[in-house]
């Protein structure tokens, strides 16, 4: 579901043709369904309970954004207060600072972290030695499997006063910069670490799509006199276009959720001016200062924007490119 790639017929599906359109019974008749499949229904009970408790109950819990909440009281709050908390954050300059930072970091992430895996995949695809390709892939995927705490530790060490980046800076420019504390350097630090972390693994779906490009298309292009660059432009890129669009939609959908855990680990009060994003702000407001309702109002605003973004990205791509998530 998350990613829809075209697969050559017969490559994966082993279901005999004509089988799947033949349900055993007609729609209707829950009694019959339960009688026949009660064992299957018992299998879904626990997972459904999980979704109800840990996913849907918190969604309903967002109602505290409009209600007064007392720690230790009902999770749905005590009494209605209307839009009190919404007006509160709309008039809160710190919120708008965080909002602006979120947008800027989101745009920068999209600008730098989205295209890199495509370029990386295309370059890997040009390699002729399969062994070397495998080696590059193995190394490049590694950061993906590291805990964000480890990544944060690495970032802070590499950008520390005695870290590698400053070693280079002092050799080349003769001066050092306090990268981890200087608000002006937060964005470059964040984005470069993000590219480092996501480029390799991000290429994996493109590489998967590239292995499925029909070889005869290249042959036809060559016969037409297309050089390697033209082949890439006219054959390879169109072939992985659905993958690109799908991943673009997903990226836009998570636009608002810019690396919350990572920022929480590497930011500090000295660079809040550029590093504080909506999610970290609401974390501080809610959990460090215990303004639950206020933070819930901000959180709901964030989720609604996220949902709107993914729905519109999906609709636009459906209309313009004919590719969509659902």
């Amino acid at each position: 579901m998350a990613t829809q790639l075209e697969v050559p017929p017969g490559a994966v599906t082993t279901q005999p043709p004509g089988r799947k359109d033949k349900p055993r019974n007609k729609p209707g008749g829950w009694k019959l369904a339960i009688k026949r499949d009660w064992r299957l229904y018992t299998l879904v009970l626990l997972p459904l309970a999980y979704f109800a408790i840990f996913r849907y109950l918190p969604m309903a819990g967002n109602v505290i954004a409009f209600r007064q909440f007392q720690p230790g009281g009902s999770i749905f709050g005590e009494k209605w207060v209307g839009l009190k908390y919404v007006t509160l954050f709309i008039n809160d300059p710190s919120f708008w600072q965080a909002f602006q930072n979120t947008i800027i970091l989101g745009v920068l992430t999209l600008l730098f972290c989205f295209p890199m895996p495509i370029i990386f995949a295309l370059m890997l695809n040009e390699l002729r030695s399969q062994k070397f390709k495998k080696f590059v892939q193995t190394v490049a995927y590694l950061p993906h499997f590291m805990s964000v705490v480890i990544i944060a530790g690495m970032i802070l060490q590499n950008f520390s006063m005695t870290g590698t980046v400053n070693q280079i800076a002092s050799t080349v420019f003769g001066s050092t910069v306090n990268f981890t504390q200087d608000a002006a350097w937060f964005r470059p630090m964040y984005i470069s670490s993000e590219v480092w972390q996501t480029m390799g693994w991000g290429a994996i779906l493109y590489l998967a799509a590239l292995t499925r490009v029909d070889e005869s298309l290249y042959e036809a292009a060559r016969i037409d006199g297309a050089n390697r660059w033209q082949q890439t432009w006219h054959v390879t890129l169109p072939a992985i276009r659905p993958t690109i669009i799908t991943l673009l939609i997903l990226n836009i959908g998570t636009f608002m959720a810019v690396g919350f855990e990572k920022i929480l680990l590497i930011y500090n009060p000295l660079n809040y001016q550029t590093s504080d994003v909506i999610s970290t702000y609401l974390y501080r407001v809610g959990l460090e200062s215990s303004n639950f309702s206020y933070a819930a109002a901000i959180g709901m605003f964030e989720s609604v924007i996220g949902l709107t973004l993914i729905l519109s990205a999906n609709a636009i791509s459906k209309r313009l490119a004919g590719t969509s998530l659902w």
């Binding site: 002729r128 490049a140 805990s147 705490v149 690495m154 819930a296």
Partner: protein
């Protein structure tokens, strides 16, 4: 599905073999293209080598620091190789009982959380993979919707707290038990299983439980292994749930031990050190803890990479 996977592998191999031959054909035909092509190839190779180096560098740097002495680290001289080689910090950390307790907690949480996740994910995926199960699309919808909309930090926090899960293992292992992404991968695997197999088993008198346990699961070892690795790695690496809900240091996973070190809340846990040298050896101690936390991941990495790749491929198959 087993058959399908073989077919796919061969296709991949064939492309891999065919490509160079096709390229050589072009090279022979057109020498001019071949020269610029060669320049491109070299540039490409250099670029990828740079990528490899830059990706590996932070790891090597951490490793070098972990074996270096504080003097060289503080002078900003350590990069690729250890300077003033010593294993003192390793001895310090390995002698720290808090580190071991937290490391043990990580193992415990990973095992319990992965077991719970597997039971929930497998049973749900198996049921919703049945195309004629009534209510199936509702079940799928319930799961998929949570991918795009979630309750958010505060309501989750309020819920877990009011359920009395604070400072218990459950706060760490339950809230993220089902990953919908994993669920969908598993669902598409079960959907691609030949139906005859299950029908034959049913005719032999097996119930739906029997079919699942005696026929389907034994044939699904690859996907089960993939999922176990998916969940185990995620659980090993997770820190935020523990950070939110655990106050008792005896319950912390090792990621929190490391996080507190990075945040400067503690240096080296209860490990020795006078006030002056605590600050000095911080970078060194962090590096050692990072290395010790990464080791298990590196040990399973070859399997992870192999299975993750096929897992992502499976997930990408359009239904």
């Amino acid at each position: 599905m087993v058959k399908g996977a073989t077919v796919k592998e061969t296709t991949v191999k064939e492309t891999a073999v065919q490509k160079p031959t096709a390229d050589t054909g072009v090279l022979v035909k057109d020498m001019k293209v071949s020269r610029s092509m060669r320049v491109f190839r070299v540039a490409n190779l250099v670029f990828l080598l740079v990528v490899v180096f830059l990706t590996m560098y932070p790891f090597l740097n951490i490793l070098a620091q972990s074996f270096s002495s504080e003097g060289f680290i503080n002078a900003g001289q350590v990069n690729l190789f250890p300077l003033g080689f010593n294993t003192q910090t390793y001895q310090l950390i390995l002698a720290d009982s808090v580190f071991w307790r937290n490391y043990g907690n990580t193992v415990l949480y990973t095992v319990v959380a992965t077991a719970i996740s597997m039971v929930l994910t497998t049973s749900f995926a198996y049921a919703i993979a049945k195309k004629d199960l009534k209510g199936r699309s509702v079940f799928i919808g319930i799961a998929v919707f949570t991918m795009f909309f979630n309750g958010g930090l505060i309501p989750n926090y309020v819920l877990i707290t009011s359920l009395g899960m604070r400072d218990t293992l459950w706060a760490v292992v339950l809230p993220n038990a089902i990953s919908v992404f994993n669920l969908l991968i598993m669902k598409s695997f079960f959907e691609n299983m030949p139906r005859e197999l299950e029908e034959a088993a049913a005719i032999d008198g097996l119930t739906q439980y029997g079919v699942l346990f005696k026929v389907v699961l034994p044939l699904s070892k690859a996907i089960v292994a993939t999922m176990v690795l998916f969940y185990a790695v995620a659980n090993w690496n997770s820190w935020f749930q523990a950070f939110l809900y655990l106050d008792n240091p005896d319950l912390f996973p090792v990621t929190i031990y490391l996080r507190n070190m990075i945040a400067g809340v503690t240096t080296a846990g209860s490990a020795g050190g006078t006030a002056e040298n605590v600050g000095q050896i911080a970078a060194n101690i962090q590096s050692v803890t990072i290395v010790l936390t990464i080791i298990p991941i590196l040990c399973v990495y070859p399997f992870v990479q192999k299975y993750f790749f096929s897992g992502v491929m499976l997930g990408s198959v359009k239904e």
